[in-house]
Amino acid sequence: MPQVLRHTGWMVVRQARNLMREPIWIAMMVIQPMIWLLLYGQLFSKVPSLRSGAGTYIEFLTPGIVCMNAFFGGTWSGMAMINDLDRHVVDRFLAAPASRLAIVLSQVARAGITAVIQALILLLVGLALGVRVHGGVLGWLVVCTASALLAMVFSGFSNGVALLLRREASMIATANFVGLPLMFLSSILLGAALMPGWIRQISRFNPVNWGVNAARNAVVTGGDWGPTGVFLLLLLAATAATCAFATWTFRAYQRSI
């Protein structure tokens, strides 16, 4: 096995083990997405036009919330890198022959795995509320893949920002600055047909929307696999780009110390 993957594997094990020692973190990871789903589901359930073709608003909303949760998780994942920088764990790895890419990939993989677990929880809660995944097994797979990739795209970005700014306050500001606008420039809460034209245009270039489209095709439409595949490939390419960016930022970091 190549060194990068071995190192990534061991570092993911480290992170998973550390997180398992934080019961509060696990509770938040499970409960938070459910709150989004129940809150938004109730809030907008009386507006029939929002659901654009889906049987119920909750069915329309579930894949959207899966994606929102995944990309929020991704944008915040740089906080773990900041913590490792503050504790000088990153410096220790850098002075050892640790792969830079592995240091980034381990954070990105953690974000992806967390997003998949949360996606499954959301789908199960959705099922209890009457949501049907029309795409069947393939549909479930697409939703999980879309949420993993979405988390990874933004995790790569977030970790790069963490290495460039290296401060918690700056990281929080960036995550907020990026998170909410991208959410409202997507069809998470309402169908594309209801968006003003210019937002619809912008949303086509929004990675969040690529994920939402893929997940919604899988749940609501249960088809359109061609375009769905294209969305997933776009997300994969974006993941590669943001991970490359984060790995590159080690240069800037090492120049500064």
């Binding site: 060194q3 071995r6 480290r14 083990r17 550390n18 764990v89 410096d91 220790r92 002075a95 110390i257």
Partner: protein
């Protein structure tokens, strides 16, 4: 063969010239100390040698490998114990060490054995499976050293290994380092701002001041390089007149490098026995009652004062604003 060679290293952070032409070499198997106050450039030198950052100019090699051209080869042969602990607080001591070993390509039984051996060596075998968050400062420091040694490095960098430790833990750490240097057959580059520590642990010392090495040699040679002895006069009643007393001593032809510390006036003289009567009568003549007089062979303190023209503690204060890089 030289384990570490640094040639004319220079590095500048925005407004601070951290390194201004640092050159020295460390022989194989030697314990070498970079001694200087905070902000003198010791940690930056170590960060260059451990490949964490690159110099603006100059060359350096560790274990025969160039730190800029072959950083990964250097990384495989060195252990690095940074000034700030690099312990993962959420993991146990053992987990910290196992991961470091795996990054160095170790695995299986040899790795587990090595970890057990080191945990015992640094006295953490009982705490090995506890999460490091609960460790004391001294325990974290010992874990740092054990982590740095997992892969059996040839060269160990100890950046301020005892800063922040209480005197008891510091003394224990000194014993630890001496034992490791012997048992692990290591070349050690140590940085410290404790004169005592350099004197005790290092075979050779280089004094660093403002990004430059001002003098280098064995502690004995450095002290012998200063001829004569130091005389310390303790004044009885001072009323803030210690500087005046120092001025009186300064007047004497035999005394040089006069300094003040609390109630004490210190001076260097060619011969203590001959100088003391003159010093005492001069102080008496100006109405300074003397409590005690001692003479001593020069200490590294005197060496530092002699070569930098500054008092160690004073320069430390001057450099309080730290250079950039997350407050280090």
């Amino acid at each position: 063969m030289d384990a570490i060679v640094a040639e004319d290293l220079a590095k500048r952070y925005k407004t601070v010239q951290a390194l201004d032409g640092v050159s020295f070499s460390v022989r194989d198997g030697e314990v070498f100390a970079l001694l200087g106050p905070n902000g003198a450039g010791k940690s930056t030198t170590v960060r260059v040698l451990t490949t964490l950052t690159q110099p603006d100019s100059g060359h350096a090699s560790v274990a025969g490998e160039d730190v800029v051209r072959h950083p990964n080869r250097v990384r495989r042969t060195i252990g690095y114990v940074a000034q700030d602990s690099g312990v993962d607080w959420e993991a146990t001591g053992r987990e910290n060490m196992l991961l470091q070993g795996r990054i160095h390509g170790m695995a299986g039984a040899p790795l587990r054995q090595r970890v057990d051996e080191l945990l015992e060596l640094v006295g953490l075998d009982d705490a090995a499976d506890r999460v490091a968050r609960g460790y004391s400062g001294g325990m974290k420091r010992r874990l740092d050293i054990a982590i740095g040694l997992v892969h059996k490095p040839k060269v160990l960098f100890l950046d301020e290994p005892t800063t922040g430790l209480d005197p008891e833990a510091r003394a224990a750490m000194w014993v630890e380092v001496e034992r490791l240097a012997e048992q692990e057959n290591l070349t050690i580059l140590l940085t410290t701002h404790y004169l005592e520590e350099a004197d005790r642990l290092a075979e050779r010392v280089a004094i660093v001041s403002r990004g430059k090495i001002v003098v280098e040699g064995t502690p004995e040679d450095l002290k012998a390089g200063l001829h004569g002895e130091s005389v310390t006069v303790e004044l009885e009643e001072t009323d803030g007149r210690v500087p005046e007393a120092a001025a009186v001593v300064q007047e004497l032809a035999t005394a040089s490098e006069v300094s003040v510390e609390g109630h004490h006036v210190r001076a260097r003289v060619p011969n203590g026995a001959q100088a003391i009567p003159a010093i005492l009568s001069a102080l008496d003549g100006h109405g300074f009652p003397v409590a005690s007089v001692t003479t001593a062979r020069p200490s590294l303190d005197d060496v530092y004062l002699h070569y930098t023209g500054r008092e160690f503690a004073v320069e430390d204060e001057e450099n309080k604003p730290q250079p950039p890089g997350r407050g280090r």
